[in-house]
Amino acid sequence: MSSSSASAHASANGHAAPAATANGSATERIGAPPAIGSLGRLGRALAGAVSRRVPVADLDVRDPDYVRDNLPWLWLISSIYYRGEVRGLSHIPETGPVLLVGNHSGGNMTPDTGVFTLAFAGHFGVERPFYQLAHNLVVSWPGLGALRKMGAIAASPANARRALDAGAALLVYPGGDYEVHRPTWESAKIGFDRREGFLRLALDLDVPLVPVVAIGGQETALFLSRGEHLARALRLDRMFRLKVLPISISLPWILNIGDFFGHIPLPAKITIEVLPPIYLREEFGPEPDLDDVYDHVTRVMQDTLDALASERQLPILG
């Protein structure tokens, strides 16, 4: 659940705010060439339109019956196409709010989210409220409204807070667009880009944090580059606040730049491991140093990802 329309500013889960949510315009402030200026205005207009479409998180939109009705499809895709394997679900506290922190893979077609959603709903039942923070563009993109019925809500600290306040389990991907478009050869690398918003959230609300480590998603295409330099060269970061312009080789496009329309993911085996919960204040004291906690969380996730990577014998086949 990501989008290549990324901005530099991380929200609670590291997903960026959409371009139009930024105040003012970088191009206006620094002055832009005329050709770029008109393109920039068009971009800002588009971004504004998208921003107006960003749905305010209404937790009631998640529909347990809809989730239940779609479990068979999720099961088919997860079991047959991705040969999904989810371990350690019993580490998730049986009741109450919990912040599930995952590493993000697979470009704009993130298979690990679907595999995990099925596993969570199967294990705890669709009755337990479960939300996933998704990029604003994902939940506002025409035709993807169904994701909101499955529990996707627009990524923002306020929405995350609302979900946890309601006692729900919330899945966040701090690495967001930065991590999800990393090159395939960095598949076994946690890349949160020092985004620590999720830690503040867990501390403020005093909820347990449960790391969820997945591997395989980055083998669903050959991801070549985040395209950060390309995005800067085309001034997309200034016009659209696009920090990345991912480049990959994927079906059906072959050379896929931007991944704006998604791609057909290759059937890579997805393995997910849920780690024991971390109670931040119990383990790090009443006012922990966020950098220390960040280093600890990413280190345990990286260790697990290393172990999962060492289990894999062949790309895609797992």
């Binding site: 479990l71 099961w75 999904g84 099925l118 294990h123």
Partner: protein, 162 residues
């Protein structure tokens, strides 16, 4: 989807019943079941509730079930209260020469899931059927071993009395 398999066991129905009606022993013989947790105060009998999880494909599926039929040493049936729609039944019948026929029936599905549900039910069927068969074989082994031990203990006891 409905699956029914049976096995003949060299032990009387009461010996089979001791095993199938004991929720603390379910994980010993039910293949694919990863959890069978008692939720109600009533551990066994009509109205007892359990939280059950079955590993099928990539996910543990299940939910809360309730015992809806409990006919001592004959029938034990349960149906789902939450989660996946499913019903199960142990049917134990006496056969000649101190033997029993044990039948396990499972019916499962997702009502209202449409074509996706139909496909998933059929794709999962071979796995579920294989699990049921292995469950019955496991049950047969355990019950027959326990029956042999019980008979041997009775023989020892009778010799000591004599």
């Amino acid at each position: 989807m409905r699956i029914a398999e049976h096995v003949d066991v060299s032990a009387p129905p009461e010996a089979v019943w001791r095993l199938v009606s004991d929720p603390t022993r379910t994980l010993e013989f039910m293949v694919g079941v990863t959890r069978w947790e008692v939720l109600s105060e009533l551990e066994r009998g009509l109205g007892a509730r359990y939280r059950i999880l079955n590993l099928v494909g990539s996910a543990e599926l299940g939910g809360v079930v309730e015992v809806v039929e409990y006919d001592e040493a004959r029938d034990l049936a349960w149906t789902s209260v939450t989660g996946l729609d499913w019903r199960g039944r142990w049917r134990v019948r006496e056969r000649p020469h101190g033997r029993s026929r044990v039948e396990m029936r499972l019916a499962y599905g997702v009502a209202g899931a449409g074509i996706g549900g139909w496909i998933a039910e059929h794709v999962a069927a071979p796995t579920v059927r294989a699990n049921v068969r292995r469950t019955l074989q496991q049950l047969k082994r355990i019950v027959e071993q326990e029956q042999l031990r019980r008979l041997a203990a009775e023989r020892r006891a009778s010799r000591q009395i004599a």
